[in-house]
């Protein structure tokens, strides 16, 4: 029923001398679907439309701002975080959350406990009582609970010979514990021993005092050697430094006093 003006070669194949009529009408060589297909017309040469160009330009601009974030670190394979990055504050939330303040004595004793278990437990025992023969007891010891300067020198330098009771324990040598110990750590340990195992001295050794002790130890004529009971007689005084009220409330992390005293 089609009324096309141009002769359709498919309806008059015998006029096209390149075609073998037999093969053309053999349905195996040509399907109806293939016959009715257009030849692919290719592309035309229409120019880019302004609208398309504009949208693509907008996308390019957005891309430019995105890639700008990486400026300063292109192909820098060892930089895994943006240079100059500082953690941002949480919007709308108070950032510095302080832990509830505690009395300085409690804070020091708690910190001292973990240090004591690491350094002193092995010999003096978890209960501070030693073993009676090789390691002296720290409970009620006149040196532990007495003058702080004397006590500090024992801890920092070690001890040779008899202890506060006059008895010689074991081989008679306590190794020095001062190597690598900071003033703060010394303060913690001393405060802990003086206020635990039944000792109730009730004072706090401050880092300032502990630093004074470290300076004294460094100035000894023979800093590498342990102290002896004789030498300790020269140190029967308390360390210099401002005495702290043991009930002062401090921040448990920074150890700085907060607010009014109790």
């Amino acid at each position: 029923m089609s009324a096309s003006s141009t002769p359709n070669p498919n309806s008059r194949p015998d006029l096209d001398d390149t075609i073998n009529v037999t093969t053309a009408h053999n349905s195996a060589s040509m399907t109806a679907a293939a016959a009715r297909e257009n030849r692919n017309p290719g592309s035309n040469k229409e120019p880019l439309s302004i609208a398309t160009f504009a949208v693509c330009a907008v996308i390019f601009i957005i891309c430019g701002s995105v890639i700008g974030n990486a400026s300063g670190g292109f192909f820098s394979y060892n930089t895994t975080i943006k240079p100059e990055y500082v953690r941002g504050k949480a919007p709308g939330v108070a950032d510095d959350v302080a832990l509830p303040p505690k009395p300085i004595l409690n804070v020091y004793v708690k910190k001292g406990q973990s240090l004591y278990s690491a350094k002193c437990n092995g010999c003096h025992g978890a209960d501070g009582k030693g073993d009676g023969a090789n390691y002296p007891s720290l409970v009620g010891s006149s040196w532990s609970t007495g003058h702080t300067e004397r006590f500090a020198q024992v801890i920092l330098n070690g001890l040779q010979g008899p202890t506060s009771t006059g008895k010689v324990y074991g081989a008679g040598v306590m190794p020095a514990q001062g190597g690598g110990m900071s003033a703060q750590d010394l303060a913690f340990i001393m405060t802990f021993i003086r206020n635990s195992f039944g000792n109730t001295v009730g004072d706090v050794v401050s880092p300032e005092m502990a630093q004074a002790a470290i300076d004294i130890a460094a100035k000894r004529s023979n800093p590498a050697a342990p102290v002896t009971a004789e030498e300790l007689k020269a140190h029967e005084k308390d360390l210099t430094g401002e005495k702290m009220d043991p009930t002062t409330l401090v921040d448990p992390i920074t150890f700085k006093p907060v607010g009014a005293k109790k």
Binding site: A24, T31, K45, V55
Partner: protein, 499 residues
């Protein structure tokens, strides 16, 4: 100036038929087995999304635990359906475009069977608990070299055909098709070697896997869809492709930009920090080739409104291309590092974009190509335009729901995630309605594809219509000499305008 092919329409028709006949077995096999894997994938997808909204569904069953089902769903969708549909269309396209029949169809068919076996083994392994844990590469380690070998057996003949084609202007479809065939093995081989063989770098292995996911989407599925669209649009509508320069821009921008995308999925992780920004920039730029492809193919298709209304192939292709456009624009808008990327990076937007790309864009164009190709290789026409219409409508509803709701809903999900003052159940609640919508959408899609499977199966069994008139959508006039359905052919073969 290109060489004019001097052949009459008759000789063209004979050549087309010869090419179609030579490829009928492998192409039909890829289509039917691909459709079967699509069914499997949709069922697994429904189970996975159902578990997201109702976790007690099949809870405690090892084979169908959420993590394994989701991994199997994506794997069968990508490698079972996606790759096979792509292979079928690509080998047919290149054969047609290079105007040579394919003489290796036996080997390709055998390779296709091998591919199916490997996918089946891989899927069972994932469900049995032997997945590798690398997203989109969950098949056990040994499967990958076997897949690459099988792929090379499929693609090598096509590449040879391209190499020995008649010299002349290479049509735009061929650039995209050859591109897809080259990029796929390069991506798979790199990812396999670096992640599974070399190893030793946990973070960059995750980076390479993210690059691989993006590469497969934008450098295999997208170009295959583009190749098919650029072939079908002018062929069916009879008009030349709108704007050669636009298609050129589309191809080269895709080639230049596509390989850089992917790392933005790992923004904030301790990898070299410029990589996610390059990835985000590339993801933004992906908008350009998708717009170029969409504009040029749509303008070609709509230049013949009559064809556009009646041809099922053109309708599916057009929808696929529109989804491609939406994909490109969504990619540009959801990957902005200082605003939207933080929201979409770990939200259901990722899943929505994957589905928009693989189902919305790629699969719709593949359906269009299949509605065109299958009649030509089976020499039967589709049985019922109603089945085609049902397939189209429900798939379209489904994919719009997934695309719009997952991609946009994912932003709301992201807002809930970033709102750190609320506990996590608030973020989960933000996503819940969109996950429910995705479940309903997948049900629509499975329903639609049921009709497609039945239809395809009947065609495969040679039960299609023996007619020289194609099955068209649209209504002819009741008094039309071609019958109320427009399918009566009164003037003999060749008298009907091409469809």
């Amino acid at each position: 100036m290109s060489q004019e092919i001097k052949q009459s329409a008759e000789q063209d028709a004979i050549l087309r038929t010869t090419i179609d006949r030579s490829l009928r077995h492998p192409v039909m096999f890829f289509f039917t087995s691909g459709a079967a894997w699509l069914a499997v994938s949709l069922i697994l997808g429904i189970i996975a999304t159902a578990k997201m909204v109702s976790p007690e569904f099949m809870d405690g069953c090892a084979w169908f635990t959420q993590g394994r089902v989701f991994a199997a769903h994506i794997s069968t969708l990508v490698y079972g359906w996606g790759c096979q549909a792509a292979f079928g269309v690509l080998i047919w396209l290149i054969a047609r475009l290079t105007r040579q029949e394919n003489r290796a169809s036996g080997i390709i068919l055998a390779a296709g069977h091998a591919w199916n076996l490997l996918i089946a083994v891989g899927t069972f392994s994932i469900l049995a608990g032997y997945g590798t844990g690398v997203p989109w590469m969950e098949f056990p380690t040994m499967i990958w070299p076997a897949l690459l070998l099988t792929y090379s057996l499929i693609a090598i003949w096509t590449m040879i055909q391209f190499r020995v084609r008649t010299p002349g202007e290479v049509f735009v479809s061929q650039w995209f098709a050859v591109g897809a065939l080259v990029w796929f093995p390069w991506l798979v081989a790199t990812a396999f070697v670096l992640v599974f063989c070399v190893g030793g770098n946990p973070l960059m292995s995750a980076g390479v896997a993210a690059w691989f996911r993006s590469g497969i989407t934008y450098l295999f599925f997208l170009p295959t869809a583009a190749a098919a669209a650029y072939y079908l649009a002018p062929k069916i509508s009879g008009r030349p492709v709108h704007s050669y320069s636009l298609s050129l821009i589309g191809f080269w921008v895709l080639a230049a930009v596509g390989p850089w995308a992917g790392m933005q999925k790992l923004a904030g992780a301790p990898i070299p920090f410029f990589l996610p920004y390059m990835g985000a920039a590339a993801a933004v730029l992906i908008g350009i080739p998708t717009i170029a492809i969409a504009v040029s193919t749509l303008r070609t298709m709509t230049s013949e409104p009559g064809k556009f209304a009646s041809s099922p192939a053109l309708r599916f292709t057009a929808t696929g291309v529109v989804c491609m456009l939406i994909l490109g624009i969504s990619s540009s808008l959801t990957n902005l590092p200082n605003s939207t990327l933080q929201l979409t990076q770990f939200s259901i937007t990722q899943y929505g974009m994957d589905i928009l790309a693989i189902y919305g864009s790629f699969s719709f164009v593949m359906f269009g190509a299949m509605y065109f190709i299958v009649p030509r290789i089976t020499r039967r026409e589709w049985l019922s335009k109603r089945l085609i219409k049902l397939h189209f409508l429900f798939s379209m509803y489904g994919v719009i729901a997934v695309a719009v709701l997952s991609v946009l809903g994912g932003m709301l999900h992201g807002i809930g995630q970033e709102d750190f003052k609320f506990t996590w159940d608030s973020a989960v609640a933000h996503a819940y309605p969109y996950q429910m919508a995705t479940l309903i959408a997948w049900c629509f899609v499975l329903f639609s594809n049921f009709f497609f499977f039945v239809h395809l199966l009947l065609m495969w069994m040679r039960l299609g219509r023996r007619s020289s008139h194609p099955t068209l959508l649209g209504h002819a006039h009741i008094d039309s000499p071609h019958g109320p359905d427009g399918d009566i052919d009164n003037a003999g073969p060749g008298s009907v305008i091409a469809h």
